[in-house]
């Protein structure tokens, strides 16, 4: 972890090529250093923060006053930082008869603030929760006494989670967890607090900045989707090729417990939608043996989406995994106990995240927990299914190799699609795809669930979502198109994004046929499209041209009068 002074050096670097995010910071204690740390840490996420900082202790007034600078600034994100210290101060000043209502009062107060912000601007809200202060008035018995500060503070943290679970666009950054990890002594420095009113020590600021930026970056679709595992001394202790099946350390043997717990962690990641791959220098059949027949293995072959065990170098193998999954290197994490392999991968594929695993496997998990590698801002049924989806892809690839002609192969898949507008069932997945899609995304507009819900109600917006199912199973919701009426003749494509998993399946043709026929019915005569380049969406540079659109003055146009249905192997369900 960098110190504050080291982190601060980032501020002198060049942010000009990064996307700018407008962040409003509202705190009830001194936030100047927090803002420095956030701006500096943003460099490491390739983001540039344009920060508006509310005056000291003005959280309420800037939110309630509709003419406040907050609303003129119109931030992308509002960061709300009520500190545990101020809470304690407020609690202390209360009439003791009302101690038991302290949590309830704060949470209802926060709900009003949140709703007020949401009514006026489209910002997302990040709220710090409360690092614990135990005033020790009741000792351990404070856990039993509902009026104690500790009881009330913990209750607020719980209520915040309940509130976040029900409120789109409201996200918690977990200061409480950070304090648990670094310790109160590191988190808080009393002498600095008394002199400056800063409730965060200089030592903890970088950590808080990074964990906050994790969420901000996830809003931008910067999330990790895949973990690639080495095997020997990473997934189990020992070397399977030398030690043999019965001697690798896992379960009760040697330091096996460390590896078993590590495997449970990977299994949980897989269950929440992280793709798990193996990249090992081994003979394939030997490397697979523990997965098939070791009784203590937690991970099984069906948990692994791509299994690569051979004697090629790992950089080539990781390239192979990347091509198979068709996701960016920057969404991958590579875990390997061997510093040589790590360095080689890091040097050759700089975008990939390569944690510097501790030498002692007993420390793997605590170290990895602290890195917060797998931030997300959504979780849907699709995530649970992801491993199955990617495995079905591998089967399709196999079938494809058996057919000489593309059309025969596509016909044999028996593809169908369910087309629906935005509704409350598909909203979470639409939001997720909107935030995850970087490559097949013509304008890269990100939507929150609440924005999607409001467009679903709008008479000027026409939304289309497409699923894709075939004989190997469902791919789920894979394509979204959002049209906005621009004039009585013209509909503008505000968004068109697709999961890269379904490239070359004629989905784009099917989708275009669908929207053209819908727009004709509604009396429009022209579609207007736009391509906004990003570092990642080069693959759709010629997308509109390929679909028969004509370029004119920065935009792409398709006249519906002369439109011929495009070839597709997908039928409507």
């Amino acid at each position: 972890m960098k110190t504050f002074n080291q982190l601060k050096l980032n501020l002198k670097k060049d942010f000009s090529s990064f996307k700018t995010i407008k962040l409003a910071v509202l705190g009830d204690s001194s936030t100047q250093f927090l803002v420095y740390a956030l701006k500096a840490a943003a460099y490491e996420y390739q983001l540039s923060l344009n920060v508006w900082e509310a005056d000291f202790n003005q959280i309420e007034s800037v939110i309630i006053d509709e003419n406040s600078e907050l609303y003129r600034f119109n931030p992308d994100i509002v960061l709300i930082f009520h500190s545990s210290h101020r809470m304690l101060e407020r609690y202390n000043k209360r009439n003791p008869d009302t101690f038991s209502k302290f949590a309830e009062d704060h949470v209802s107060h926060l709900k009003i603030l949140t709703e007020t912000v949401k009514e006026r601007i489209q910002s997302k809200i990040i709220c710090y929760n409360f690092n614990e202060i135990d005033d020790a008035v009741f000792g351990n018995y404070g856990n039993t006494i509902a009026t104690s500060f500790l009881f009330q503070l913990r209750k607020i943290n719980y209520e915040l989670m309940m509130f976040a679970a029900d409120n789109q666009g409201f996200f918690i950054c977990d200061l409480s967890s950070i304090q648990n990890r670094v310790g109160r002594q590191t988190f808080f420095q009393p002498s600095i607090y008394i002199n400056t009113d800063m409730v965060l020590s200089m030592d903890v600021l970088p950590e808080i900045a990074y964990r906050t930026l994790d969420i901000v970056a996830a809003f931008q679709g910067k999330i990790r989707k895949c973990v690639i595992l080495d095997l020997d001394n990473t997934v189990w202790g020992g070397i399977i090729g030398d030690d043999g099946l019965e001697n690798i350390q896992i379960g009760q043997l040697g330091i096996g417990k460390a590896f078993t717990e590590f495997q449970y962690w990977i299994k949980k990641l897989k269950s929440r939608g992280i793709i798990v791959c193996v990249c090992s220098k081994n003979t394939e059949s030997i490397a697979k043996e523990p997965f098939l027949s070791h009784p203590d293995m937690v991970l099984r072959l069906e948990d692994i989406s791509v299994f690569v065990a051979n004697w090629n170098n790992k950089v080539d193998n990781i390239h192979f995994i990347q091509e198979t999954l068709n996701i960016g290197f920057d969404s991958m994490v590579f875990l390997d106990d061997n510093p040589f392999e790590r360095n080689m991968v890091r040097e050759q594929i700089p975008e990939i995240t390569v944690p510097e695993l501790p030498e002692d496997p007993a420390n793997y998990l605590e170290y990895l927990y602290g890195l917060n590698l797998f931030e997300t801002t959504s979780f849907s049924d699709e995530d649970v299914q992801r491993t199955a989806l990617y495995k079905a892809d591998a089967e399709r690839t196999n079938l494809k190799q058996q057919f000489g002609k593309e059309s025969q192969y596509l016909t044999s898949l028996g593809m169908t699609s369910l087309v629906e507008p935005f509704n409350k069932f598909n909203t979470p997945r639409v939001a997720q795809l909107s935030n995850r899609s970087n490559q097949f995304n013509v304008r890269t507009v990100r939507y929150t669930e609440s924005e999607i819900a409001s467009m679903a109600q709008s008479a000027k917006h026409f939304s289309f979502t497409f699923t894709l199912d075939d004989k190997f199973g469902s791919n789920g919701l894979v394509c979204v198109i959002l049209l906005v009426e621009e004039s009585e003749h013209t509909a503008f494509i505000d968004s068109w994004f697709m999961s890269c998993r379904v490239l070359k399946r004629t989905m784009e043709n099917f989708a275009l046929n669908t929207i053209v026929s819908e727009l004709k019915t509604r009396g429009y005569s022209r579609i207007k499209g736009e391509y906004i380049p990003t570092p990642k969406n080069g693959m759709v540079k010629d997308f509109y041209q390929d679909l028969g659109f004509q370029f004119n003055d920065g935009f792409w146009f398709l006249e519906l009068g002369g439109f011929n249905e495009r070839e597709t192997y997908i039928t409507k369900r």
Binding site: T3, L9, S191, N195, M202
Partner: protein, 80 residues
């Protein structure tokens, strides 16, 4: 540690915090004489000096200094 050595090490900390390599401290240097030395950088100085010398200042000490020499007094006392 000799006071001259303390002064030299403090000078290095000032340069790091203020990001200004041309700072030259004497015992009589005050905040008025260094443009970057304001209430914000002062806190960074305090924390960086604590880390550097592996000491902790009391709240009152932080408020008491009038010049670099008085800071050295405090550090020298704690490093005895």
């Amino acid at each position: 540690m000799e006071r001259t050595e303390l002064l030299k090490q403090m000078n290095d900390v000032f340069i790091e915090v203020m990001e200004n390599p041309s700072i030259v401290l004497t015992e009589s240097t005050t905040a008025d004489q260094i443009a970057e030395w304001d209430s914000l950088t002062h806190i960074q100085l305090v924390v960086t000096l604590e880390r550097h010398f592996n000491i902790r200042f009391t709240t009152a000490e932080i408020q008491s200094w009038n010049n670099v020499g008085e800071m050295i007094d405090t550090i020298a006392f704690k490093k005895q």
